[in-house]
């Protein structure tokens, strides 16, 4: 069978598979509406690859999909020992690694097909992401199909697609057939072509159905109904039974449920709706299955689901997710409840938390007959899974329900636990006053007797965390210390890791250097016990504390370490959080190109949370204002809106600094300083060193009031006192070139000329122009027009590429080696080298290398 108008897609597939066969694996994302021919394309292609191994898996439209269903489909073909790791807590990382290893070690290339990814469970999406990032050097091609019209904003797959970018991922969108192609298909079938293209919109499956029917059915449903209507009752029952099962139906289940006679089976298989895959049956297409399913009367459908459930219950290997699906559809509450709990457990052990949440939700909706304690426990599990998947309103509702039950039962520990969780959930929802209230009620309830319990410890640590986040460090220390002593008495390592982090961070940010040791101890405990969330939180606080105390060398070193930890575990959201903060650090350090590139990449991510977007927006806005490029204002406006929503100083302060800096660059005066005053008040109350200095500085610059800069030796305080030269030297020492130069703008003509040179080196055209104007006003003569940034940085007039070549040459590399390193031809490198020798005025490579070492170029 040849496929019409699929040549381009087939070529891309073949090209990608050839590359994979040579050890350059990749991922293909194949999208299109239902019936457009994604499966047909892949089936056709799979028939042409040899020698190769083809692994085929699919996701199904179950109420809650089987965790890792597609992997389950092909694990036995890939490496049978993988099956042993299924459904075991903590075996996910080794399971994924095992899949990758089995692919890498294969002597023949592998084609992995995962179909209908829009129905995938969270664990399968994680697997896809894991493999997509690592296939670059594996002889395997992963082809993924999904319906792009079924993933709205916020669909889990959309986030994954956003992550799958870069050179090892390609996309194929399958378009509808043209009118010509439809005509050709009609001609081949001896069918009049009139009206078919309009009716079907060029959807190949629909076209095929129409061509198989006499006359022109109005829809796929009509086409399928027409076919079913011709069958006997016994055959129709078989067809309907297959229709109520998403995906495939095993022969053994069908035989157990209906005990069909051989003749009816043959007729059902022969009527053109079903595919016989040996031990399984399936509709020729999901569209046909859905059409057939829709045509079944509700009462009849419930009876069929009940029969299917019975068959599944008698078959131990059946995934619980399938039993839940049919129990719910059969309206059998008891069975739904019975199967939902193991199904949720299975989902959790695979990390499919969204599925677990919906299964617990289903159990709760069918669990009217449960005793109160069991019900409260179920609410707590549901709430936890909702919390993990950011479904905060549902999590709060379930925690409240649990709280009510525990309170009625007089279970104090459990009641306190529910209160503490409500506190956390309200903080996550941005409702800080409510969070504090719950936190205090929890403490009042649990802090009784001489030997406080574990729950009391968590209540204290939770309150300490809230205090820390709101920059109330004294409160954080008091509560955190209580939590630490409880944790140490009980030997509870997780509580200890949590509490040490809050205490250490609060100490360090209130100026006590001992705090760092506490955070590092928290990190060590979390690493030892594998508490990923606490490891991540320790890294985040280590980096942000270094950011607040201007210790950028430490911030970079910690991020380098944290990045490795996150990358190995695909902890993307934590990585992004720190990465966004690093754009500010790069900007301050004068690495503007890197800062701009990273910030742009972060802002292009779909659905990045505010706390990630804000620093990236600020960095890019500052970059554009300093360079004199357009677009800074819109970025700042968004940053300001997002930051104000959080109400947290650490988000608001950098935005306000950028707003005032932009106004200063453009010589605008700000009309209203309320926001700056409010933030400054927060900063002084918290005694946050960085933001009191920066906000106080801008209050002074903007003439907005008598702000005090408490740290008398800070560069800003020195600047304000008129010691601009000392301030500039301090910034230079700290490695802040932009501030080093702006400090000089309060100075005399030589200082302004120095500032001009620094701005020019940074490429800060807007500031360069401002500096020139100021020089002219001072009556300075011969103010330079400002040569380009590149030549300013290196007096010999070398281009960026030439500097790069010179650096490698100075390391003793030959032209051939340099060419290889830069992926350029040797001839090009020869040209560069002679240009370098000419510009430097030297005669040999050795002399050029000596110049390079003298000027520091070799370090670039």
């Amino acid at each position: 069978m040849d496929l019409l108008e699929r040549e381009a897609a087939a070529q891309t597939l073949a090209g990608a598979f050839d590359a994979a066969a040579q050890g350059r694996g990749s991922t293909l994302l194949i999208s299109g509406e239902a019936g457009i021919g994604k499966t047909a394309l892949l089936t056709h292609f799979a028939g042409t690859v040899a020698p190769a191994r083809v692994l085929w898996g699919g996701c199904e439209a179950l109420f809650s999909p089987r965790p890792l269903g597609p992997l389950h489909d092909f694990a036995a073909d890939l490496e049978p020992s993988l099956l042993e790791r299924f459904g075991q807590e903590g075996q996910r990382a080794p399971l994924f690694a095992g899949v990758l290893a089995a692919l890498s070690e294969s002597p023949v290339p592998t084609l992995i097909v995962i179909e209908d990814l829009h129905w995938a469970d969270a664990a399968t999406l994680d697997l896809v992401k894991f493999l997509a990032r690592r296939l670059g050097r594996v002889n395997a091609l992963m082809a993924l199909t999904y319906r792009d019209d079924e993933i709205g904003e916020g669909h889990a797959l959309r986030l994954v697609l956003g992550d799958l970018q870069g050179r090892t991922t390609r996309r194929i969108a399958i378009p509808p057939l043209s009118e010509d192609a439809v005509r050709e298909l009609a001609d081949r079938a001896g069918h009049p072509a009139d009206g078919i293209h309009t009716l079907t919109g060029g959807n190949p499956f629909f076209v095929t159905e129409v061509l198989r029917t006499s006359g022109l059915p109005a829809s796929i449903l009509d086409a399928v109904m027409a076919r079913m209507a011709r069958q006997s009752d016994a055959v129709r029952l078989l067809l309907e039974f297959v229709a109520i099962v998403p995906g495939r139906l095993e022969r053994r289940l069908l035989e157990r449920a209906l005990e069909p006679d051989e003749e009816s089976m043959q007729q059902a298989l022969g009527c053109g709706l079903l595919l016989d895959e040996g031990d399984c049956f399936a509709y020729r297409h999901e569209l046909a299955r859905r059409a057939a399913e829709q045509a079944i009367a509700p009462s009849r459908s419930r009876r069929l689901h009940a029969r299917m459930l019975e068959a599944l219950e008698a078959w131990p290997q059946a995934a619980s997710a399938r039993r839940v699906h049919h129990a719910a559809a059969a309206g059998d509450d008891a069975a739904a409840l019975r199967h939902a709990l193991p199904a949720a457990q299975a989902a959790i052990s695979h990390g499919a938390h969204r599925e677990a949440a919906s299964l617990y939700g289903l159990a709760l909706s069918r669990g009217g007959a449960l005793d109160p304690a069991t019900r409260a426990d179920l609410h707590e599990r549901h709430a936890y899974e909702c919390y993990l998947t950011s479904q905060l309103p549902a999590a709060i509702t379930s925690r409240e329900a649990a709280l009510g039950i525990w309170r009625e039962l007089g279970a104090r520990e459990a009641e306190g636990r529910s209160l503490r969780w409500l506190s956390r959930l309200h903080w996550y929802s941005g409702n800080t006053p409510e969070a504090l209230q719950y936190a205090d009620v929890a403490i009042a309830l649990l802090d009784q007797g001489d030997e406080p319990t574990r729950e009391a410890g968590w209540a204290f640590s939770n309150r300490a965390q809230l205090d820390m986040l709101a920059e109330r460090y004294a409160g954080a220390l008091a509560h955190g210390t209580r939590a630490i002593s409880i944790a140490e008495r009980l030997g509870d390592q997780e509580l200890l890791a949590h509490a040490l982090n809050n205490v250490g961070t609060s100490l360090e940010l209130s100026g006590d250097g001992r705090g760092r040791a506490d955070i590092e101890r928290s990190l060590a405990i979390a690493l030892e016990h594998g508490y990923e969330e606490h490891v991540a939180r320790a890294y985040v606080n280590l980096v942000s504390n270094a950011f607040f105390t201007l210790d950028y060398a430490r911030a970079r070193a910690t991020y380098a370490e944290a990045g490795l930890y996150f990358a190995a575990r695909d902890l993307d959201s934590w990585d992004r959080y720190i990465h966004a903060m690093m754009t500010c650090i790069d900007f301050d350090s004068g690495r503007w190109d890197e800062a701009g590139e990273s910030a742009g990449r972060i802002l292009s991510l779909p659905q990045a949370p505010s706390i990630v977007r804000i620093p990236a927006l600020v960095t890019l806005a500052r970059l554009r204002y300093c360079r004199g490029d357009s677009g800074g204002a819109a970025l700042l406006a968004e940053a300001e809106r997002l930051a104000m929503q959080t109400g947290e100083l650490q988000r608001i302060a950098p935005v306000l600094v950028a707003v005032y800096e932009a106004a200063w660059i453009e010589r605008r005066s700000m009309e209203n300083h309320d926001a700056l005053h409010a933030a400054y008040a927060l900063a002084t109350a918290a005694r946050n060193p960085r933001w009191t200095d920066e906000l106080g500085f801008w209050l002074w610059r903007a003439g907005a009031g008598d702000a005090v800069i408490p740290r008398k030796d800070s560069p800003q305080a020195l600047q304000r006192a008129g010691y601009w030269r000392v301030a500039s030297a301090a910034w230079k020492q700290l490695g802040f070139p932009l501030y080093q130069a702006t400090a000089l703008m309060d100075g005399d003509e030589p200082a302004l000329r120095e500032a001009l040179a620094i701005f020019s080196g940074l490429g800060a055209s807007a500031l360069e122009n401002g500096c020139r104007d100021q020089l002219r006003r001072l009556g300075a003569r011969g103010v330079p027009r400002g040569p380009r940034a590149e030549t300013q940085r290196n007096p010999s007039g070398l281009t960026v590429r030439e500097i790069e070549v010179l650096g490698l040459l100075a390391q003793g590399l030959s032209n051939a080696q340099i060419a290889k390193r830069l992926v350029r031809s040797e001839k090009t490198v020869d040209h560069h080298v002679s240009a370098i020798l000419g510009k430097l005025g030297v005669r040999s490579r050795t002399e050029a290398a000596a110049v390079a070492h003298g000027s520091g170029v070799s370090l670039i």
């Binding site: 190109d593 590139e597 890019l620 970059l623 360079r627 357009s630």
Partner: protein, 90 residues
């Protein structure tokens, strides 16, 4: 995609010879631009050849600066602009 005016300064003057070398230089720039989704639409050069005003289509100012670095071209300032024609209302 937005439209931008890119202002450049060439202290030593801009020289693009009307020859195969000039053509090659321009073609090289176009190829580098394309890799970052940047399109050079047209340029206006001052009489003394020390300044140029270039019309570009690009996803962001950063993209223009990135290709400018690869092309070894200076950039002073990048301004987002929209097209306005005096004959629009006629």
């Amino acid at each position: 995609m937005s439209r931008f005016i890119v202002e450049r300064t060439f202290p030593a003057g801009l020289a693009v010879p009307v020859s195969s070398d000039g053509a090659k230089a321009c073609a090289g720039i176009v190829v580098n631009n394309a890799e970052h989704g940047v399109t050079w639409v047209q340029s206006y050069v001052s009489a003394d050849k020390t300044r140029s005003f270039c019309v570009y289509d690009a996803p962001s100012p950063e993209a223009i600066r990135q290709v400018a670095r690869r092309n070894d071209l200076p950039v002073d300032r990048i301004t987002a602009v929209s097209d306005l024609s005096p004959y629009f209302y006629l």
